[in-house]
Symmetry: C2
Subunit: 507 residues, 2 copies
């Protein structure tokens, strides 16, 4: 009955048919249900991206009275919360990067691995809470202790995943499966995965004796991967060719997954998660806070719902403003990664920095909605929005520049230097940094019209994106015609010279 | 320079190389940047799934004092909010289904379509707010009016997307591209897309005259697709073969995308989004509400942070409990869809119903955390949790049963009736319904131990999942041996009969 359909190639549990068949054959052989990890990874990416951006909520919900100037104490509180947000974001992205690496080694999963991964996710989603404890009680060791314990547990679970994977080698990456020195790989991967947890364990121990040292150790966890890479890079630069050759050799004995490029799909999935949750954060608030109380409407507004709702006008404006900005920045990110074939680690870092600022956008727009009327802080709020937008978009620009530096490995042929698509991409990426910088300085100069400038900016940008292609084409044609004119001039001059030169050389 | 790399097959903007090349060729020809829609759809799925589940937050945040019995008024309020949640969930899933259908017709996108889609998403994410206005002011036409206007705008944007797609036929599905009667397809798709908005437009008009009619019209929007399908089904059953043939014919002139199966990838992506946001909803609350105030800790707990935190114990327990339940239900869903090759519309509907109950889980667990101490409502809270878990898991079970009814089209060969994988899947799906039902009745009988039973259930289930494979294997072997024993008995009996029968027939 099933025989005629068994050969149908239809979209099955294995996205890559060869791999699925391979896993299938082994499954029949070993009697365990092996699966591709694609959906598990997508789910993990969604969880991690939500958790990374969650800590912006306490920042955004810090209540500031509209007639109160941003005082010292409020600023202090805001700064602490922003620091917590940034630290959480970076720590979660470090955990995410480790997770990416882990599942580049283990390519197929089974039920045990899926459950272990879920346990790991559960502890990771608890991290933001330990961080906010640390921020509220910087002098109490318990916060650091709890955080470190969580990190150690995460590390141990991931180590168990690695050991389980190497115990069932059919789950591993093909390249490791066929290699002879699996033990070497195992030790190397365990070293990478347990590096952070060991530092955290030390931090937990020291938290009872000398707290500042614990903080230094935790800071090390975040910058360690980049630091070690930077040191290697410096060494290569200083010691020159010999070392580079050696590094090349070590890259060869390791395989692709231990070298630079991150998985492009997972970078995209994580970014999509962050953009999606950030885009919807404001509507969560609006749904909860901005539905008027029926009794209040009856008493205060004489039953006119429309009048009551008009009170919330600035909130709606802020929502649409933030959604448009985030949507368009996603659009730029999407266009950018269409041209990218591989993401290097530096591009990954820049992407994460860009995302960290994206996470700040709802805060910025909440500020603009709260200060919209009769407030002293209107200009500050708008300027904060401009600054956040500027940094979010300039880091996207930096991703593009970094990609261009290694364009052979990272970019599609048709997006490299000089093509029309290249110019268009450049214009897309430059739009937001230019406009936000322009708006920032305009609000400094014309401080009375700051709100008008801001709203104008929001309305103009989407249309600018639509018209960008036409604009780029016109300017390219202009440049070309100017170039050809000047070239013709040069040719004419050369001809003139050529006409003159014989007499010159003769004389 | 780019020539030697141009042929590299690497993972590019086109997931399907042939399609990408096709798009690429056209791009060069037409000078527009055509892209595959994969990432746009993933982002849309993430946004829609978050928005669908968001309205559970107002339900979960309804404050109930622990010593207050669930009174009439609170129950009324809760019921209204739950109704809003369910309505929002269903409306957003209807919008999602329309979106899936739309992008089955339009397979490639360009910048204009991406921006139009983002505009569409922006309006959709605003829908929950209009719904909560409707719930708070059921007698005021403005809420319905606003909702209907949003729905009409969404319909118009989608219609523009369709028209744009048919104006640039290289963006369309291959099957439509090569077909001769594109106009017929265009009209058909426009009819499907504009059906809902037209009903909403009527609702908006009637909202000023006779509000109940508007509500009926809005209800129609949700059930219309299922209703029309049900009527067709009934007709087929009553009128029999003749009609079925006709339907078959019409299915042939339409193509696969207009017939039943939903895109499996998008069902998975949407479900993942819902599971991910629901799993993290409780930690959002914990991060905001359960960080003690430093001053309070100093005054009330004599500076002991640990003591202050122990107050929140039940909240942590609720968080881990809800994460584990949602994680395991995701795990079951994941296992289920590994065996599914195509999702029929009925399976999609059952999946959405299951997800709607999943969305209720954080609420249930919040109830258990709030009532954990000195409360009259402990048992009710636990029973609500059990009921929600039961329905969420029984609908998953129903997906499996429905899939089995059409197993040739919907399931992988190795998961069909009778295989070992089949028995294992069955056990996985049956675990949660059985346990939650068992816990429900146990709490009725042993009401003093309800909390203990509930916690025991939470701890036991993950281990049950790990041990399930072993358990299934043992029971299968047992059944087999029993079967073979009884078969041997039957054989023996038959032999005896055979020995006896000649004499019997003789006598």
């Amino acid at each position: 009955m099933s025989a005629p359909r068994a050969a149908t190639p239809g979209p099955g549990p294995g996205a890559v048919p060869g791999e699925a068949l391979h896993g299938r054959a082994l499954e029949l052989e070993l009697g365990s249900s092996t699966q591709t990890s694609h959906r598990l990874l997508a789910y993990s990416d969604a969880l991690l991206s939500i958790i990374a951006t969650v800590m912006i909520l306490p920042v955004a919900h810090t209540k500031i009275h509209p007639d109160q100037k941003l005082g010292e104490s409020v600023q202090q509180l805001l700064l602490t919360k922003i620091a917590v947000y940034l630290m959480t974001f970076l720590i979660v992205t470090v955990a995410w990067a480790a997770h990416v690496r882990l599942f580049q080694v283990i390519e197929l999963i089974d039920d045990v691995l899926a459950l272990l991964n879920l346990a790991c996710m559960m502890i990771i989603t608890f991290l933001p809470y330990t961080f906010s404890l640390m921020a509220s009680f910087p002098g109490v060791p318990f916060g650091i202790f709890l955080f470190s314990v969580c990190a150690v547990v995460i590390g141990l679970i991931q180590a168990v995943i690695v050991l389980y994977g190497f115990y069932h080698p059919h789950l591993l990456n093909q390249q490791i499966q066929v290699s002879e020195n699996q033990n070497f790989y195992k030790r190397h991967i365990l070293k990478i995965i347990l590096r952070g947890p060991i530092l955290c364990f030390l931090a937990a121990v020291f938290s009872f004796f000398f707290i500042p040292l614990s903080y230094v150790l935790l800071g090390l966890v975040i910058i360690f991967p980049h630091l070690s890479r930077f040191i290697t890079w410096c060494k290569t630069k200083i010691l020159g060719q010999r070392n580079e050759e050696e590094e090349y050799h070590s890259l060869e004995t390791f395989s692709f997954y231990l070298s630079e490029p991150l998985s492009k799909e997972r970078v995209e999935a994580f970014s999509d998660g962050v953009y999606a949750i950030v885009a919807t954060l404001l509507i969560l608030d609006i749904c909860e806070d901005n539905v008027p109380d029926p009794r209040e409407v009856r008493e205060k507004f004489h039953g006119s719902l429309l009048e009551a709702l008009s009170e919330y006008g600035p909130n709606y404006l802020a929502y649409f403003g933030s959604f448009v900005t985030i949507g368009l920045l996603w659009f730029v990110h999407h266009s950018l990664f269409l041209y990218v074939t591989k993401a290097t680690r530096l591009m990954g870092l820049l992407n994460i920095l860009s995302l960290a600022f994206i996470g700040g956008l709802p805060l910025a727009y909440q500020l603009t909605s709260e200060f919209a009327e009769k407030s002293h802080n209107e200009i500050e709020a708008i300027q904060v929005s401009c600054v956040i937008t500027f940094f979010a978009s300039i880091f996207q620009f930096a991703i593009w520049t970094t990609a261009l530096l290694h364009e052979r490995e990272t970019l599609h042929p048709f997006a490299r230097y000089g093509g029309k698509e290249h110019a268009f991409m450049f214009a897309k990426l430059a739009l937001y940094p230019c406009v936000s910088l322009g708006a920032f300085f305009l609000t400094c100069l014309l401080s009375e019209f700051s709100t008008e400038i801001f709203h104008l900016m929001q309305i103009v940008i989407p249309f600018a994106f639509l018209a960008l292609r036409i604009f780029v084409r016109i300017s390219l044609t202009l440049i070309k015609s100017v170039m050809s004119l000047s070239r013709r001039k040069v040719v004419l001059l050369e001809e003139e010279e050529a006409c003159l030169s014989p007499t010159d050389t003769l004389s």
